[in-house]
């Protein structure tokens, strides 16, 4: 018969060693790359659209509910582990096998908590799903490996691929440090441009395999599937023009990790000017190539 004796001594030493190792590792890395902000990236971005903010609040609600339940359940477990130990002379209460009242409570209370979580989630989902009355539509087509953005009725349609500096640095043993490339793997040659304060509806599809269009700051991710046209919408806050980055989120072959998405959100006036410039440039390019 083997008795309880094996304590947690290796555990304590190992925890200390792991902490020390982590600290030792972290220190030089933080000193080198504090500007990159890697250690601080722990949570979802709040984002710049009504959808992303809604998603963030649902995420945080779920997180805090889990933390609260966790403190309660883990607290009871830890209490047992500390105080109901054989080595402390604890005697098991072998009559405690079943208690209908308690069991009904711990079935019903979670149901109520879940209902409380489901309501805001369902409400948020309906908001995200309502893509009616867009002010601008853009067709997004995924391919191996890049995106095509088409602005229907404007003559603007272009391909957006990984920028050449990232591409050069991303080769196997390229000898180019990823840190030397601005926005490594998150930069494109030709970003998508949208106006702020405008409801933009995306029509998303693909030509070869399944891809997924995702910009975390917008709070939307939608698969681009051959034979399907999926829709998604976003409206960048009027006071939040800027450059927003994401990347393909569905495994699509060798180049899956090299399919970034960059969206430039500009003022309505700048957008119209860009659209005109872009249309003229594309016209000139096709004219030049056909002559």
């Amino acid at each position: 018969m083997y008795r309880a004796r094996v304590g947690s001594r290796p555990g304590i030493w190992l925890s200390l060693a792991a902490l020390l190792a982590a600290a030792g590792m972290a220190a030089p890395a933080i000193a080198d790359e504090s500007s990159q902000g890697g250690w601080g990236l722990l949570n979802l971005p709040v984002g710049v659209t009504s959808i992303s903010k809604d998603v963030y609040s649902i995420h945080m609600m779920a997180f805090w509910v889990c933390v609260a339940i966790g403190i309660l359940v883990f607290g009871v477990m830890i209490w047992s582990i500390i105080f109901h130990r054989h080595s402390r002379g604890a005697v098991a209460d072998v009559t405690m096998v079943h208690n209908t009242k308690v069991e009904i409570i711990w079935t019903l209370v979670p149901v109520l908590i879940l209902v409380g979580m489901a309501i805001p989630a369902a409400h948020g989902l309906m908001l995200i799903n309502d893509d009616s009355h867009p002010q601008l539509e853009i067709k997004v087509t995924g391919f191996q490996w890049g995106w095509q953005y088409t602005y229907p009725g404007t003559g603007v349609s272009f391909i957006s691929k990984l920028d050449t500096r990232s591409m050069a640095a991303s080769d196997l043993d390229s000898g180019i440090s990823a840190y030397s490339v601005p926005h490594y793997l998150r930069n494109v040659d030709h970003p998508m441009v949208v106006p702020v304060g405008t409801k933009v509806r995306l029509l998303i599809t693909a030509v070869d395999v399944i891809h997924s269009w995702w910009v975390p700051d917008f709070g939307i991710k939608k698969d681009a599937i051959p034979g399907y046209i999926n829709t998604a919408w976003f409206e960048v806050d009027a006071d939040k023009p800027g450059i927003y980055r994401g990347q393909c989120a569905e495994l699509c072959g060798r180049g899956h990790g090299y399919m970034p998405i960059v969206v430039e959100a500009v003022s309505e006036a700048d957008f119209q000017a860009w659209l005109k410039r872009e249309a003229a440039a594309e016209k000139a390019a096709t004219g030049a190539s056909s002559s």
Binding site: A62, G70, R85, G124, A169, Y184, V209, A249, H256
Partner: protein
């Protein structure tokens, strides 16, 4: 072996030495003994655990820092694909079948599995299946690289490895179905008189339900991959949009298999934990019947939640709402289980031998995986989490600290019964602490990476993800290395462990397996145990 009916232990012990068994290779190739077949399953599973683990080590090495240093992106995709397939079908599932083979007959008072030759077949299919799958590394175009989920059209793009993958899946499916049939027939027909359904140990109960899940969904997977095979070679267009087919249909069919598959891997873990925690709390399991019903509810729900793996494919609002609510419901029976285990420990008399340590780690870490699962159920939030490292963290908390830790708990719990020797507990305790700590160093930061926007299945990443990836990789190497202790501890135990005296290796252990001598005789319960023994084992 002519025996007079007996129920006391001594006659069993005396007969143990007279058990005839074939010797040499015939014992294993022609094996029909459930213990031998169980051992072979466990050995195979252990080997494939290290094969799948080696793939993971290369993945973590490549992700150690930004930039590509070790493998080509195509090879990286093959590694993630093969890691998933080998761990799921090669490490976790055969381990459970091996434990079922070893434990179910001796836990229900049966002399063997009901269909011993079928049992032999279902095991011996597997080495061929994995030889086929692993040899795909050698063919032109290398191993499958479309992810273990094998979504078309991507998976249709792979060359010679594609049919090898499909046939390997077919073989694994056949093996699983045969194994499941055997489990059901054994439990339904070979229980000792007096071993009523509600006296069965929970490991037997959870495996019974698991076996029904296997029979229900493995043919679905076989159907899905067969349709893909005919799409590739015979001009059909099941999943080809250009031919009027539907690539999303594959995902529906795959996940109709895939979600129950998740529970196939975790339900037996619930069974093991439900045996280990009472044993080392010296107290019967709290709410035995509730545990059985909760297991059945989870199994039922597993059939109506599949589309939560596909929230971003563009489902209609009503479907999104249905699958969100049904998925959230799973938290209720799962919660009941966690509360019951907690209540079992409450006012117990706890000791912390290696099986209990792994079971407690299961309790904490599986619950964390459950929390992230609940978050993933919320569709709007899932739009952000889907296909990111948050999901990777979630399913590794459920499958590594869930299924794999429970398998380790089971092995450390029953090993003394299998071999009649005790393992080096100090070393096993080290194995536990190294595993538990570095598991968290490995996978906890992946929650951060996913939330910060890092997609899964990418060989290289933007530099803002570098710090936590490095931590994760260090945790990965340490976790991988510490697993080498596991086979060493088992080997040392088999060779030179201290003899276990009597029937019970653990003070608080209950159940028929602990009424047999140690090691369990080659032929056990050739006469059924007495009702008194059964009643003593089923005090709940």
């Amino acid at each position: 072996m002519a025996e007079t009916p007996h129920t006391d232990l001594h006659s069993h012990a005396e007969h143990a030495d007279h058990d005839h068994k074939p010797h040499g290779w015939r014992r294993w190739v022609f094996a029909t003994n459930h213990k031998d077949i169980g051992t072979m399953y466990l050995v195979l599973s252990c080997v494939l655990f290290f094969v799948g683990g080696a793939f993971a080590m290369v993945i973590r090495a490549e992700l150690f820092k930004p930039g590509l240093q070790i493998v080509d992106p195509g090879v990286f995709n093959s590694l993630t694909t093969m890691h998933g397939l080998v761990m799921i079908f090669g490490a976790i599932m055969p381990a459970w079948v091996g434990l079922a083979n070893w434990m179910i007959p001796i836990q229900i008072g049966a002399p063997d599995m009901a269909l011993p030759r079928l049992n032999n077949l279902s095991f011996w299919i597997l080495p061929f299946a994995f030889t086929l799958l692993l040899s795909s590394w050698l063919v032109p175009g290398s191993a499958p690289a479309g992810g273990w989920t094998m979504y078309p059209p991507l998976t249709l793009q792979f060359g010679a490895s594609f049919p090898m993958l499909i046939f390997a899946i077919h073989l694994m499916g056949i093996s699983s179905i045969l194994g499941a049939i055997n489990v059901i027939v054994t439990i339904m027909n070979l229980r000792a008189p007096g071993m009523t359904l509600l006296r069965m140990p929970l490991f037997v109960w959870t495996w019974l339900i698991t076996a029904f899940l296997l029979i229900a969904v493995m043919p679905v997977l076989a159907g899905a991959v067969t349709m893909m095979l005919t799409d590739h070679f015979f001009g059909t267009s099941f999943f080809n949009a250009a031919g009027g087919g539907d690539p999303v249909m594959f995902q529906h069919i795959f996940w109709f298999f895939g979600h129950p598959e998740v529970y196939i891997m975790i339900l037996p873990a619930f069974g093991v934990v439900s045996e280990v925690i009472p044993a080392f709390s010296r107290k019967p399991l709290f709410g035995y019947e509730a545990m059985v019903y909760a297991t059945a509810s989870i199994a039922f729900l597993s059939f109506i939640v599949w589309a939560h793996h596909m929230f971003t494919v563009g489902l209609p609002l009503t479907a999104l709402l249905f699958f969100m609510f049904s998925t959230m419901l799973i938290a209720v029976p799962t919660g009941v289980k966690v509360f019951n285990w907690t209540a079992t420990m409450w006012r117990g008399s706890l000791s912390f031998e290696p099986p209990m340590l792994f079971a407690i780690a299961f309790l904490f870490l599986f619950t964390i995986g459950g929390f992230s699962g609940l978050m993933l159920a919320l569709v709007p939030a899932d739009f952000q989490y889907q296909d990111t490292y948050f999901v990777v963290a979630h399913f590794h908390y459920v499958l590594v600290s869930g299924a794999a830790f429970a398998i380790m708990a089971a092995v450390y719990y029953w090993l003394p019964k299998w071999v009649g020797r005790m393992y080096d507990m100090r070393l096993a305790t080290w194995h536990f602490w190294l595993s538990a700590i570095f598991f968290n160093v490995l996978f906890f930061p992946q929650h951060f990476l996913g939330l910060a926007g890092m997609p899964r299945r990418i060989p290289d990443y933007a530099v803002q993800f570098a710090d936590w990836n490095m931590v994760s990789s260090i945790g990965g190497f340490a976790f991988g290395l510490s697993q080498l202790l596991f086979p060493y501890i088992i080997w040392k135990c088999v060779r030179s462990g201290a003899r276990v005296e009597g029937t019970r290796a653990w003070e608080g252990a209950r159940g028929l397996e602990w009424e047999l001598p140690s090691p369990a005789p080659y032929h056990s319960w050739t006469t059924p145990p007495s009702e008194a023994l059964i009643a003593r084992g089923a005090e709940h």
